[in-house]
C-alpha cells in the first residue's frame, strides 16, 4: 500500500527518487565523524533562521520602537530572552565555524581541483554571515550598535568621488546621523539579502560539495581501471580530510550517506545546537537606547569580536588614512582567499602553490588572532574605556528599571530617560557644570572637571560634605578642608570671609562653648547643627514660618545656629544676619538648588562676588525649567529608587551612597 502511494507521489514530483538517490550517495573515504563540520554549519544556520523568524514576529524597526521592541522581547515575551540569545550566539558560532571550515580547507588542500567552487561558496557564505552581523548590530538600536554603525558607515566617506553618495545610500538618508530609515534599510538587508542569500548559497555549497564527491568517486574508479600512478596531486581521489595523504594511490574506502554518515551528521547538528544553548545561558544584554545626539556618542562602542582585528589595525592609521586598513587591507585579504584555489594550481608537481597558500593563510590567521587579542587586552587596561563602559552599563540598567516601573510612552524610551534625573542629570552636568565643578567621590560615577574653580558637589547635603565646610582640623599640608579644591580651594572665595571665619573665629567659638557647656554637650550641639543642615537639604521647599516659630525646628535649634556663629553672616528663617552672606534657609533643598542653578544672584544667594552662570533667566535660558529640576533632583539624589536603594535610604543611611 505504502509503495503504491510513494510511487504515485514519485511519478508526479520525483521526490521519492531524489530521496533515494540522496540516501544512496557514497561518501569518499568512508563515513566518519570527522565530516560533521558542514552539518554543524547547516544546523547553526537553521537555528539562526528559525530564531530569526520568531524574533521577526516581535521586532519593530524604527528609532522610537526598535530598542523598545527588544525590551519587550526580553522582558515580556515568554522565552523571549532565550530566543534572542540563541539568535545572537548562533550568528557568532556560524562565523566561527565557517572560519574553521575555510582554514581546514586551506591546510588540508581541500580547495583543490574538484572542490574549488565548494571553497568559493564557503567564502561567499562567510562574507554574507559577516554582513548579517554588521546589519544585525544596528537593529536593537542600542548606544553601542548605533555608535559602532555610525563609525562604520562613515568609512564610506573615505572613498574618493563616490564616498558621499555611498554613505547616503547606506544609511538611507542625508546624514549626518542614522535614522529610522537606516533601520528599515538595514532590516531589509539583514533578512532579504544576507539572510536569504546565505540560505541560497548554503544550498549551493552543499550541492557543489555533492558534485565534487561525485567527481572524486568517478575519477577514482577511472584511475583504478587505468592502473597508473597519478603524479603528485591525488586530491581527485579523496574527501577534504585525506588530501595530504597524497602519494598513496591505493583505492580508498567509500561509505554510505544513509544511514551511516547521516547519523554522524545529525549528531554534529545536535552538538551545534547544544553549544548554542550553552552559550545562550547567560542571555544577551539589552543595552541602552541610542541617543542620536552627537554629543552623546558612546565612547565604549566596539564591534563584534569578529571585527576586532581590523578595528585594531585602524588604530595604526590616522584620520582619512584609515581608508587603507578598511578597504585596501581587508580587500586584499578577502581577495587572496578567493585566489587560493588558483594559486594552489601553481607548480602542482611540487605543491608549491599549496605551500604558499598555507604560509600566507597561517600568517593572516595569526595576525587576526593576535590583533583580536590585542584589542581586548588594550580595552581591559584602558581606564577611559572602562569608565565609559561602566557608565554605559549603568545607563542601560537604569533605562530598564524606569521602563519596567513607569511604562514606555509612545514617544519611546529616550523620552522617558530625558525626564529621569539619574540618566539626564550626569549628561547635563557634563555639558554645563563640569567646566567648573567636580563631581568626584572616588567612584566610577565621577565626572571630573579640568581644573575645578568651584566646590565638589558630590555628596551634597550629606554629613561628610557638610562637615567639611566647618572642619577646623588641618590636613597634612596645613590646610583646612574648606581651603582644599574640594571646597573653596580653587575659587576666588579662598581669601574670603568664610574661610577666615573657620580659620580664626570658629575654633574660639567652639572653645567658649566647651567651657560653658562641657565637651560632651558641645559635641551634641555640633552634631545637631549638621543634622539641621542635612534636614534642610532633604526639604522640597523652605519651612513654614508662623510668627516666630519655624515648622520642624525647636528654639534650641535656633540657638545652636547662633551659638556656632553661623547666624552672624547667614540668615536662617527668623534669624537675621548682621553681616549677610548667602542664606542658610532651605540650604541644599530642592527649591534652593533650582533657584541657585537658575540664577545664583537671586536674593539670599550669591548676590555679591558671583562667578556662576545663570542657567535659567531671561528670554533664552540656557537650560529649560525641567532641565534645572532634573539637575537639582540628581544632585539631591532624589530620583526614583530601586527597591534596594529605597530600603537603604529608609534605614537612615544618610552617608553618601556607595
Amino acid at each position: 500500500m505504502t509503495t503504491t502511494i510513494l510511487h504515485w507521489i514519485d511519478q508526479r514530483t520525483g521526490l521519492v527518487t531524489a530521496c533515494k538517490q540522496c540516501c544512496d550517495r557514497k561518501v569518499p573515504g568512508g563515513s566518519c565523524p570527522c565530516h560533521i563540520l558542514p552539518s554543524m554549519i547547516i544546523s547553526t544556520l537553521a537555528t539562526l533562521c528559525i530564531t530569526g523568524f520568531f524574533l521577526w514576529c516581535f521586532y519593530s524597526p524604527s528609532s522610537r520602537s526598535a530598542w523598545e521592541s527588544v525590551f519587550y522581547i526580553e522582558k515580556m515575551v515568554p522565552a523571549g530572552g532565550l530566543l534572542r540569545a540563541m539568535h545572537h550566539m548562533s550568528a557568532q558560532l556560524l562565523v566561527f565555524l565557517i572560519g574553521v571550515y575555510i582554514l581546514l580547507a586551506v591546510f588540508r588542500g581541500g580547495y583543490r581541483v574538484a572542490r574549488k567552487f565548494v571553497f568559493w561558496a564557503a567564502l561567499v557564505m562567510g562574507l554574507l554571515a559577516l554582513g548579517g552581523c554588521l546589519t544585525g548590530d544596528l537593529l536593537p538600536w542600542t548606544a553601542n550598535g548605533y555608535s559602532a554603525t555610525l563609525v562604520r558607515t562613515k568609512f564610506l566617506l573615505l572613498i574618493p568621488f563616490a564616498g558621499e553618495s555611498l554613505f547616503k545610500i547606506a544609511i538611507g538618508g542625508p546624514g549626518p546621523g542614522l535614522t529610522s530609515l537606516t533601520l528599515t534599510r538595514f532590516f531589509a538587508l539583514h533578512i532579504g539579502i544576507f539572510g536569504a542569500g546565505i540560505i541560497g548559497v548554503a544550498c549551493l555549497w552543499r550541492w557543489l560539495d555533492g558534485k565534487a564527491d561525485d567527481l572524486a568517486l568517478s575519477t577514482k574508479n577511472a584511475n583504478d581501471k587505468k592502473d597508473d600512478q597519478v603524479a603528485g596531486d591525488n586530491s581527485l581521489s579523496n574527501s577534504s580530510s585525506d588530501a595530504d595523504k597524497s602519494s598513496c594511490s591505493a583505492p580508498q574506502p567509500t561509505g554510505w550517506f544513509w544511514p551511516n554518515q547521516a547519523m554522524f551528521n545529525m549528531l554534529g547538528a545536535l552538538l551545534a545546537v547544544l553549544i548554542i544553548l550553552i552559550l545562550s545561558k547567560g542571555g544577551v544584554e539589552i543595552g541602552s537606547p541610542a541617543d542620536t545626539d552627537p554629543a552623546m556618542f558612546y565612547g565604549a562602542a566596539r564591534p563584534e569580536w569578529s571585527f576586532r582585528a581590523i578595528y585594531e589595525v585602524c588604530h595604526f592609521f590616522p584620520g582619512s588614512w584609515q581608508f587603507i586598513p578598511v578597504f585596501c587591507i581587508s580587500g586584499m585579504v578577502v581577495g587572496y582567499f578567493f585566489l587560493i584555489p588558483l594559486i594552489g594550481m601553481f607548480r602542482q608537481g611540487k605543491s608549491l602553490g599549496h605551500k604558499i597558500n598555507m604560509a600566507v593563510v597561517a600568517i593572516i590567521t595569526l595576525g587576526i588572532v593576535g590583533l583580536t587579542w590585542l584589542s581586548f587586552y588594550k580595552d581591559a587596561n584602558d581606564p577611559e574605556y572602562l569608565a565609559d563602559a561602566y557608565k554605559g552599563e549603568k545607563r542601560a540598567e537604569r533605562f530598564v528599571e524606569i521602563c519596567e516601573k513607569q511604562g514606555i510612552p509612545p514617544a519611546g524610551a529616550l523620552a522617558l530617560g530625558a525626564n529621569d534625573p539619574l540618566i539626564r542629570g550626569p549628561e547635563l552636568w557634563e555639558q554645563h557644570c563640569a567646566s567648573c565643578h567636580n563631581y568626584e567621590g572616588g567612584t566610577m560615577d565621577d565626572i571630573v572637571a579640568n581644573g575645578p574653580t568651584a566646590p565638589n558637589l558630590y555628596g551634597m547635603g550629606t554629613r561628610e560634605w557638610l562637615v567639611g565646610w566647618i572642619d577646623t582640623e588641618k590636613n597634612e599640608d596645613g590646610l583646612l578642608k574648606i581651603e582644599t579644591p574640594d571646597y573653596f580651594g580653587g575659587s576666588p572665595f579662598l581669601g574670603g570671609t568664610m574661610v577666615d571665619y573657620v580659620k580664626t573665629s570658629l575654633p574660639d567659638n567652639i572653645e567658649t562653648l566647651e567651657e560653658d557647656y562641657g565637651e560632651e554637650e558641645t559635641k551634641v550641639m555640633y552634631d545637631r547643627l549638621i543634622e539641621i543642615l542635612i534636614e534642610e537639604s532633604k526639604l522640597t521647599k523652605p519651612r513654614q514660618v508662623d510668627d516666630e516659630t519655624v515648622e520642624g525646628l525647636s528654639e534650641d535649634d535656633m540657638y545652636i545656629m547662633e551659638d556656632f556663629g553661623c547666624a552672624q553672616c547667614h540668615s536662617f528663617y527668623t534669624l537675621e544676619a548682621v553681616d549677610p552672606g548667602p542664606e542658610l534657609t532651605g540650604y541644599g533643598s530642592r527649591d534652593w538648588l533650582i533657584r541657585i542653578i537658575s540664577d545664583p544672584e537671586q536674593k539670599g544667594l550669591y548676590a555679591k562676588d558671583n562667578h556662576m552662570t545663570a542657567f535659567h533667566t531671561g528670554d533664552e535660558p540656557i537650560l529649560s525649567q525641567r532641565e534645572v529640576e532634573i539637575l537639582a533632583d540628581w544632585l539631591n539624589r532624589s530620583w526614583m529608587k530601586t527597591e534596594s536603594e529605597q530600603s537603604e535610604s529608609d534605614a537612615g543611611t544618610s552617608e553618601t551612597a556607595k
Partner: protein, 192 residues
C-alpha cells in the same frame, strides 16, 4: 575488481563500500536530527504562542463617578484608561463614553453611549412632545427613553441601548464595567 597492493603502503583495501548500518543508526539519525531542528522551533513557538496567555483589557470594572454626583437626568462621562500597546504605555487614553443616571428609586443605571445601529455617539435631548429628556442618536434619529428602550415603532436601531453592569463600592463609589458591543445586531454581542 583487481587485486592491488599499494607500492607505498602495502595496503590491499579494495574499493568496496563499508557495510550499511542498521536500524539503530537510522533511528539515531532521525531522532537526533529532529531534536536538533526542533529545539529552536520549540523556543520560537513558545514565544509565538504567548499571546494566548494574555487577557484583553476589555470588560473590567472602573470607577467613573460618585453616587452623589448623579441625577435623574443622565450624566455623560468620557472614560479614559491607561492602555498598553505592546511596549507602549499610554496614560489616560480615550476609552469610550457612557451615560450614568440615578433613577427615582435610587438605582444607578449605566448605558453605553455608542448607538447599536452604526456606532455614533448618542446624546440627551428634550423630547419633542414634552416628555422630558430622552436619548437621541443624531446620525439616523433613533430615539430611546431613559431606560434605553426604543421609542419609535420602526427604530433605526436594531436593539435597545446597551446597558452596562454597575457596582456600588464603599457606599458612594460608582463602578461601571465598560464594554463594547457589536453594532447592527439585534441581540447584544460583546466585541473585544
Amino acid at each position: 575488481m583487481n587485486d592491488k597492493t599499494c607500492s607505498c603502503c602495502s595496503s590491499t583495501k579494495q574499493n568496496e563500500p563499508e557495510p550499511r548500518r542498521g536500524f539503530l543508526a537510522k533511528l539515531i539519525a532521525i531522532g537526533v536530527g529532529a531534536a536538533a531542528f526542533l529545539t529552536p522551533v520549540a523556543v520560537g513557538l513558545r514565544a509565538f504562542f504567548s499571546p494566548m496567555q494574555q487577557k484583553s483589557g476589555a470588560g473590567e470594572f472602573m470607577k467613573v463617578t460618585t453616587v452623589d454626583a448623579l441625577t435623574a437626568t443622565p450624566t455623560r462621562i468620557s472614560l479614559t484608561k491607561d492602555q498598553v500597546d505592546a511596549w507602549n504605555f499610554v496614560k489616560a487614553a480615550p476609552l469610550g463614553t457612557i451615560f450614568v443616571q440615578k433613577k427615582a428609586d435610587g438605582q444607578i443605571v449605566a448605558f453605553q453611549a455608542c448607538c447599536p445601529h452604526a456606532g455614533c455617539t448618542i446624546g440627551v435631548t428634550e423630547g419633542k412632545n414634552g416628555e422630558g429628556p430622552l436619548f437621541l442618536c443624531p446620525c439616523h434619529k433613533a430615539w430611546f427613553d431613559l431606560s434605553g428602550v426604543r421609542t419609535q415603532k420602526s427604530s433605526p436601531s436594531p436593539r435597545d441601548m446597551d446597558m452596562l453592569e454597575v457596582e456600588i463600592r464603599n457606599d458612594t463609589e460608582v463602578w461601571v464595567k465598560y464594554q463594547n458591543f457589536q453594532t447592527g445586531t439585534s441581540s447584544q454581542i460583546a466585541s473585544a
